[in-house]
C-alpha cells in the first residue's frame, strides 16, 4: 500500500514544489527534508507543519526571554529539569507549567487549548507520568523532571511515536498533536506496567492493549479534527512493534481528473 517513491528520487506535485519554494527549502536542505518526510509517508499538511516547527526551533526565542523576573513580589524560585536540562526560574506563584514553558522558556510545542483541564492539548510528562500542564502550578515542580514534545526526538531522529503519527496521518490541524503524542508515549508505559482502565473487563489482571483500551486511555486528549483512527493506529503500531498498513495515499492525477469531471457533470 505504501506507494511513496524512494527518498532519493522524490516526485513532487506542483503544489508541493510551490510549498517548498515558499518555505525557502532548497538544495541539500530540500533533499534532506524530503528524505525525512517521504520516508515517513508525510503529506502536504504535515510538510507545512514540520517546516513551521523547524523554523520556530531555529528562532532564538528562549535566549531573548529573561528566565528570571527580577523584582517580582512573592516570587518562587524553582529548579526544574526540562527535557534533560536544569532550568532555574523565579516565578509569580500563579504561573502554571504551561505558561512557564511557553512564555518563559520559549518552548511553544506544548499547546494551550482550553486552559482548564478539559482538552489535553497541554499534556506533558512529569517524572515519567502524563499530566496537564495547564493545571500544574510550576512552583510545585521544584526538583522534578519535565519532558515536553521538544524533548522526545533524539536530535534529528524522531521518537517512534512521532514517526508513527506522521505515517498514519494522525492529525489534521496539528494543534492537539503535541499533547496527543506526549499522552501516547506515557500511555505505553502505563500499559507496560499493567495498569487497568475503565474498559478493562477484569481489573484484577493485566489487560491487553486493544483498540478499545487505547481509545479509553486517550479520552483525555480531544481532537477537533477527528483524527482518532490514525491516532489509534499509530499507538497500536508503536505498541505492537509491527508496521501497520498505511490507510491513506496521495491522490493520483487520473483520479483527481475523474472526480473533477464528475463534479462538473453534477453541476
Amino acid at each position: 500500500m505504501d506507494e511513496s517513491p524512494p527518498p532519493d528520487d522524490p516526485i513532487l506535485t506542483d503544489d508541493e514544489e510551490r510549498l517548498l519554494d515558499e518555505l525557502g527549502i532548497v538544495g541539500a536542505a530540500r533533499r534532506r527534508f524530503l528524505g525525512y518526510g517521504i520516508a515517513g509517508g508525510v503529506g502536504l499538511f504535515a510538510l507545512r507543519l514540520l517546516a513551521s516547527e523547524g523554523a520556530r526551533a531555529a528562532a532564538p526565542t528562549p535566549a531573548a526571554i529573561p528566565a528570571s523576573a527580577s523584582g517580582l513580589e512573592g516570587a518562587v524560585r524553582v529548579v526544574v529539569k526540562i527535557n534533560g536540562e536544569n532550568r532555574t526560574l523565579d516565578l509569580d506563584p500563579r504561573t502554571v507549567l504551561l505558561d512557564a514553558l511557553r512564555e518563559r522558556l520559549g518552548l511553544t510545542g506544548t499547546k494551550k487549548g482550553c486552559d482548564q483541564g478539559q482538552c489535553g492539548a497541554c499534556t506533558v510528562i512529569v517524572d515519567g507520568r502524563r499530566v496537564l500542564s495547564c493545571l500544574t502550578l510550576a512552583a510545585t515542580l521544584d526538583g522534578r523532571s519535565v519532558t515536553t514534545i521538544e524533548g522526545l526526538a533524539k536530535g534529528e531522529e524522531l521518537h517512534p511515536m512521532q514517526a508513527a503519527f506522521i505515517r498514519h496521518d494522525a492529525f489534521q490541524c496539528g494543534y492537539c498533536t503535541p499533547g496527543q503524542i506526549c499522552s501516547a508515549v506515557a500511555l505505553l508505559e502505563e500499559a507496560r506496567r499493567g495498569d487497568a482502565s475503565h474498559v478493562t473487563e477484569d481489573v484484577s489482571g493485566a489487560p491487553r492493549l486493544t483498540d478499545d483500551e487505547i481509545r479509553e486511555r486517550m479520552s483525555g486528549n480531544i481532537c477537533r479534527c477527528g483524527a482518532y483512527p490514525g491516532i489509534v493506529a499509530a499507538i497500536q503500531e508503536v505498541h505492537s512493534g509491527k508496521r501497520a498498513a498505511k490507510t491513506w495515499r496521495f491522490v493520483e492525477p487520473e483520479e483527481l481528473a475523474r472526480v473533477r469531471k464528475e463534479d462538473n457533470e453534477a453541476v
Binding site: 500563579r94 502524563r130 475503565h198
Partner: protein, 328 residues
C-alpha cells in the same frame, strides 16, 4: 487569577497550622480542581499551602483492611495490587472518573474535596448560594438537567460530582483527618459530605485547617461481587448523569448483605438503605433488583429538566446489581 502567597509545607502539623491561621488560605494537593476554580475566579484564596512534599502517599494493609494515603494519586490507588484484588469497586470507580492525566495528578484527599460542577456555581455572573451565600440558586428554576433529584433544598440543587467517594461509601471507608493542634479524628465517609440544607456553601464537615491524612478501608467481603456503573453523556471523560456503586455478599444465590450508593443524584454520595434492605436475605435475581431500585428512587423529587434521572437511576441500579451478581 488573583495573587496569592505560595507556601511549601514540610510536615502535616505546620501545614494544618498555616491554613488554620488564615481564613483565606487553602491546601494545594493535585490542584486539578482548585486551580481551575481559581482561574474562573470562583475560588479566591490569598494563600496556598502546598502539600506535595508531605509523606502521605502510602497504600498499605492495616487492621485487616487497607489504608490509603491522602496524597496518593488516584491513578496509583486504582492500580495498587491490594486495591485491585480486594477492592475492585474502588478501582473501577476511580478509573470511571476524569482522564488518565487528571488521575495522575489528583490525590485521594483532593478527590473527596472536589466541588460541584454546577454551571451556576462556575459562572460568577450568576446567582449561587454555594459560591456566594444569599444570592439565590440559579439552577433551581434554571437549567437543571445535571442536578439533584434527592436531598436537595431550595437553597441548592447541585450534585457532588465525584466517583471515588461513591465506592468508598459502599465500602464503608473512614476518613482520617488531623487538625492544627495535632488532634486526629475519624469521619465515616457517609458523614463526610453534607446535604445542602441552608448552608450549601459547606460541602463537607471538615473544619478550616483540618487536613485529610488517610482513608481507611475496612476488611471487605465484596471483592467477588461488586460493580461500578457510570452513565454519562459520552463514553468517557464526562461527569455522571447517574452512577451506581453496587456491592453484594452472596451465599448460595441469596444476598447476605448489599450496598447500593448512587452518584450524580444528590449533594453527596447517596446511599440507599431502602434498596439494601429490599435486597437482604432475598434471592439474587432481576426481580429482586427491580424492587430494590424502586425503593431507592421512591422519594426522588426531580426538577424541571431531570425527571429522566429517576428512571435512569432505577435501570442503572438493576444493571449494576446484575453485573455485580454476575447474572449479566
Amino acid at each position: 487569577m488573583r495573587p496569592f502567597r505560595y507556601v511549601r509545607a514540610s510536615d502535616v502539623a505546620s501545614a494544618a497550622h498555616q491554613v488554620a491561621a488564615n481564613p483565606a488560605a487553602k491546601f494545594l494537593a493535585g490542584g486539578t480542581n482548585i486551580l481551575d476554580l481559581m482561574k474562573e475566579d470562583v475560588e479566591r484564596p490569598n494563600e496556598l499551602v502546598d502539600l506535595n512534599r508531605l509523606d502521605l502517599t502510602r497504600i498499605a494493609a492495616a487492621n485487616g483492611g487497607v489504608s490509603i494515603g491522602a496524597l496518593a494519586k488516584n491513578a496509583d490507588t486504582a492500580n495498587h495490587p491490594l486495591i485491585r484484588k480486594s477492592y475492585p469497586l474502588l478501582t473501577q470507580a476511580i478509573l470511571a472518573g476524569a482522564s488518565a492525566q487528571l488521575r495522575n495528578m489528583a490525590t485521594n484527599g483532593g478527590n473527596l474535596l472536589q466541588r460541584t460542577r454546577c454551571q451556576y456555581f462556575y459562572d460568577t455572573a450568576m446567582p449561587c448560594n454555594k459560591r456566594e451565600p444569599g444570592t439565590g440558586c440559579g439552577a433551581r428554576e434554571g437549567l437543571n438537567r445535571m442536578h439533584a433529584i434527592l436531598g436537595w433544598s431550595e437553597k441548592c440543587v447541585a450534585v457532588y460530582p465525584g466517583d471515588m467517594a461513591n465506592a468508598l461509601y459502599a465500602l464503608e471507608a473512614v476518613v482520617r483527618v488531623r487538625g492544627p493542634g495535632g488532634r486526629e479524628r475519624t469521619i465515616p465517609i457517609g458523614d463526610f459530605h453534607r446535604l445542602p440544607g441552608d448552608t450549601p456553601e459547606r460541602d463537607n464537615n471538615l473544619e478550616h485547617g483540618e487536613l485529610i491524612v488517610a482513608i481507611d478501608l475496612p476488611k471487605s467481603g465484596f471483592a467477588k461481587n461488586s460493580y461500578y456503573l457510570k452513565v454519562r453523556d459520552r463514553a468517557s471523560y464526562a461527569f455522571a448523569l447517574v452512577a451506581v456503586a453496587a456491592a453484594l455478599e452472596l451465599e448460595g444465590g441469596r444476598v447476605r448483605q448489599a450496598r447500593v450508593v448512587l452518584g450524580g443524584v444528590a449533594h453527596k454520595p447517596w446511599r440507599s438503605r431502602e434498596a439494601e434492605a429490599a435486597l437482604a436475605d432475598r434471592p439474587a435475581s432481576e426481580e429482586s433488583f427491580r424492587r430494590a431500585a424502586d425503593a431507592a428512587l421512591k422519594d426522588a423529587k426531580p426538577l424541571a429538566h431531570n425527571a429522566y434521572k429517576v428512571e435512569l437511576g432505577k435501570r442503572a441500579i438493576v444493571r449494576a446489581l446484575m453485573r455485580a451478581s454476575r447474572l449479566a
